[in-house]
């Protein structure tokens, strides 16, 4: 475990700037959101929610780039010290993932707090449990189901790109090449577990608000509001995301162990 601790430290020292920048941008989003003062509760709420959704998407993109710097590391042979260490391959990947997801969680909780504020301003009556759900649970859900597998996928792609470029093409590389389709199928399949797992519904205060703002869809695709605030949390999604991430990390670890340096 000393290895993981050291790798996390390395990750922190290497990515400190990015983390601070991203978390610091919460100030920017807050400022932008507070500047919106349209007429009409509905428009204001819609626009603000859109901004929060965009902020979340930007967070995913920024963290993907942060984690994708592994490619530059490999190009400059900076990774050699890590590659030849006795530490197993998967820990190198897990450490990068843990740090990025950790930063993402803090960022997402910040956005969740902003979402709570936005909805309070729009008149939603939010009880204590709703606040917790908005501030911590929903963002965490988004991080686990979206960010985590995305970052694992970015790492795998980077490793694949570097391993394939060199002369030794392992069976891992072939599988990864074809993995795009099966992986998404797997994810869809896992979602089928949905039916057998409980579901966690949204804060009642928000549902009330939606009902009051007539004509606003509370569920389904394309709703700007529901992108920021999921109506229901499917545990199947969480299980699927964790399994998918596990698979991607496993494949990445194999590549790491076998790639030529």
């Amino acid at each position: 475990m000393k290895g993981l601790h050291t790798l996390l430290w390395r990750e922190y020292r290497s990515s400190r700037g990015w983390a601070i920048g991203l978390i610091g941008s919460l100030g920017l989003w807050t400022w932008i959101v507070s500047m919106i003062s349209n007429e009409g509760v509905e428009n204001r709420l819609a626009l603000r929610s859109l901004i929060i959704t965009v902020a979340f998407a930007i967070g995913v993109i920024v963290l993907s780039f942060m984690v994708g710097r592994l490619h530059t590391e490999i190009k400059h042979d900076e990774h050699r010290t890590l590659l030849l260490s006795p530490i197993p391959g998967y820990l190198h990947i897990v450490s990068r993932l843990v740090f990025a997801v950790g930063v993402g969680l803090i960022y997402a909780i910040g956005l969740g707090t902003l979402t709570w504020w936005v909805f309070s301003q729009a008149g939603a009556h939010l009880g204590a449990s709703s606040i917790m759900q908005l501030v911590a649970a929903f963002p965490a859900f988004g991080i686990v189901t979206l960010l985590m597998p995305t970052l694992a996928w970015v790492l795998l792609l980077v490793l694949f790109a570097n391993a394939y470029r060199l002369s030794h093409l392992t069976w891992i590389a072939v599988i990864v090449m074809c993995a795009g389709t099966p992986v998404s199928l797997l994810y869809r399949g896992i979602n089928g577990l949905d039916h057998h797992l409980p579901v966690w519904t949204t804060a009642p205060g928000i549902t009330d608000l939606f009902n009051r703002l007539a004509g606003m869809p509370t569920q389904g695709e394309g709703s700007m509001l529901t992108m920021a605030v999921p109506g229901v949390v499917h545990y199947g999604d969480i299980v699927g995301a964790v399994l998918l991430t596990g698979l991607l990390v496993f494949l990445g670890a194999r590549l790491w162990e076998e790639m030529e340096g």
């Binding site: 290895g3 290497s14 042979d77 010290t81 030849l84 260490s85 002369s167 340096g261």
Partner: protein
């Protein structure tokens, strides 16, 4: 036998990096790997370190593929970079966490004798970075030290210190194989010299045997490859 390349060929696309090369590395020996640029020295050293896989033949260190026993070997590459934000203390912390055989006291002593400054790597000169990496490498208690051009791009005074450090760190239960162009200065270090030419081994001799015949390693090099 500590390590071995057994009839190894390494092909890059259409060209041969190494051709049918067999080399045995016994324990306790210092081997000088010599040859002009492109003769296959880096390829050989990377194969020994498990950073490359042979196209044909077998590489083994302590009887296993090198990557499997990577905890017992040290590789110092020519192109290796350290993270620019790392200073010597950070590097020491990283090494202790990653490598159980890293000796912090020896590391401090090496930083001292190699005159490594306390800046971060990004603010060091190329030569200072090489010396930092050398300190990181030699502070480990490994069985096989693989050094690719440890004297490359270094000024004369620093080269002396580096040679002294390498000499000082030698142990009877370990082996060192290093490549260099600074033959005249470094030849005293070698028990044995191996000359490569266009991917093939053209000479494998004990240094003192060459001198018994009135040659030096340098004169032999010029004769064989000139």
């Amino acid at each position: 036998m500590l390590a071995m390349l057994d009839d190894v060929t390494k092909v890059y696309g259409k060209s041969y990096g190494l051709r049918d090369l067999t080399l045995e590395v016994p324990t306790g020996q210092v081997i000088g790997l010599l040859g002009v640029n492109g003769s296959g020295k880096t390829t050989l050293l990377k194969l020994l370190a498990g950073l490359l896989l042979p196209t044909r033949g077998q590489v083994s260190v302590l009887g296993e593929p090198p990557r499997r026993v990577r905890s017992k070997l040290v590789f110092l590459g020519e192109t290796d970079a350290i993270y620019r934000w790392m200073g010597p203390t950070d590097a020491g912390y990283l090494m202790s966490g990653l490598y159980p055989d890293f000796c912090p006291q020896r590391y401090l002593a090496l930083l001292d004798s190699l005159l490594v400054p306390t800046r971060r790597a990004g603010a060091m000169s190329k030569g200072e970075r090489v010396r930092l990496r050398l300190a990181m490498a030699l502070a480990r208690e490994a069985a096989l030290y693989i050094l690719d051009e440890p004297l490359g791009g270094i000024d004369l005074a620093a080269r002396e210190r580096i040679l002294q450090s390498i000499v000082g760190q030698w142990r009877a239960d370990a082996s060192i194989i290093l490549s260099t162009h600074a033959i005249a200065e470094a030849e005293g270090l070698f028990d044995r010299v191996v000359l490569l030419k266009q991917g093939s081994l053209v000479l494998d001799a004990l240094a003192e045997d060459l001198r018994e015949r009135g040659e030096s390693v340098k004169s032999t090099f010029l004769e064989v490859l000139g």
